[in-house]
Subunit: 236 residues, 2 copies
């Protein structure tokens, strides 16, 4: 177990990545250079290099003479997200079905095992990270350097959107999640069979499910309370 500067940089990167994907660090949050360099045993020089790299990947925003921030999310980005995601992910899964290696398919199955476990017993954070890992592997499978920059950018906000909207407040949530899990299984099968068309279709289905969940959250069923009655806000 090495503990050199490089592995401490990796530790910082992983920490920031997980914190951002799980919303432990919220969009727009300021990062403290001296605190982080202290906490991870790095001087500010290598720390700032990590910032620059993660800014390029879409995790952070850098502004001159101001602190680094977790990249923002807005309602505009939500719209842009659902415009771009089906197309990019369709292409990614198509290429994955064409190019996936045996080892990558095994990785994907492992990731799905972890995801299923997170569904049963894990927290929302575990679920988001496991889901992120699953899709990340499909990106590796596609192996197209020109699609990956956008895809990886999408995965960041996919995790964050999931953390926002997949909360146990609607009755249909667990149902949606097991449907998502079934879709993962179908994606694995399509890739393993080299079935491009099926893979592309599954990509679209997967986004429609996400969009439904978000619609449910943004536009909940109206409260069933008679006019004039005081809604019981605090259930015993």
């Amino acid at each position: 177990m090495k503990d050199d500067a490089k592995s401490r940089k990796d530790a910082l990167r992983d920490h920031l990545r997980e914190s951002i994907l799980t919303l432990r660090l919220q969009p727009g949050a300021d990062l403290d250079e001296v605190y982080l360099s202290d906490a991870f045993g790095l001087s500010r020089t290598p720390l700032r290099e990590v910032f620059r790299q993660m800014a390029g990947e879409g995790y952070l925003d850098l502004r001159t003479n101001r602190s680094a921030r977790v990249s923002e999310m807005s309602y505009t980005t939500l719209r842009d997200f659902f415009l771009a995601a089906p197309m990019i992910y369709g292409a990614i899964l198509r290429l994955a079905a064409q190019n996936a290696t045996r080892a990558q398919i095994d990785d994907l199955k492992d990731a799905q095992q972890v995801f299923k476990h997170a569904l049963r017993s894990g927290s929302g954070e575990d679920r988001a990270l496991a889901n992120n890992r699953f899709h990340d592997v499909t990106g590796e499978m596609s192996g197209n350097v020109y699609l990956l920059p956008s895809f990886n950018r999408l995965l960041i906000d996919h995790a964050r959107i999931g953390m926002t909207f997949y909360r146990p407040q609607t009755a249909k949530m667990p149902e949606n999640l097991s449907e998502a899990s079934r879709q993962h299984d179908a994606i694995i099968a399509a890739i393993e069979a080299g079935d491009e068309a099926a893979a592309a279709q599954l990509a679209e289905d997967h986004w429609n499910l996400s969009r439904d969940q978000i619609e449910m959250f943004v536009m909940p069923a109206a409260l069933d309370v008679p006019l004039g009655a005081a809604p019981n806000l605090k259930p015993a």
Copy 2:
């Protein structure tokens, strides 16, 4: 005219960017930190931050304990390029037609003027940079943060591919270039009219033209020399 550290960083960035896009710095070329920091009046710390950022954008490859390199291009990437480019660029132009502002359309027209001028009297480098600028503006118009990472990555290699394959060796080259220029005009018209479908179609046409040029370069017409005769390699 300021000459502070920030503007020197910008100068370095622009220099590297132009050198890479025009192939003055070839794919795989090593970059000398001390030489560059000397030449641009920066210490190595800010210089390395520029490296990290440009690596994130796809201009450079960084390897630990080894010099930074101009990002590689291979025949694999050429294939990946033509798989991804029509889809991404189609989406970009579609969104550009939806969202372009008056000011952006003026920018695009300016860029096209510069491109036309480069066609007539400029060098191949001028042409590549002007073309890059044109497409860059269409990216701005689309305004979709999820598509731009891949699109910008594509534009880097688009310029480099153009520098490689658009050389004055085939008779059809000038013809192809004026066709490209006409397509630019048509793209401007489609965006100005808000005609999404036309814009998307033009994106596809534009890539087909590029692909034709490359095919012509990679698979030239066979030399018309009778069997047994010595081809005249050095024309008087």
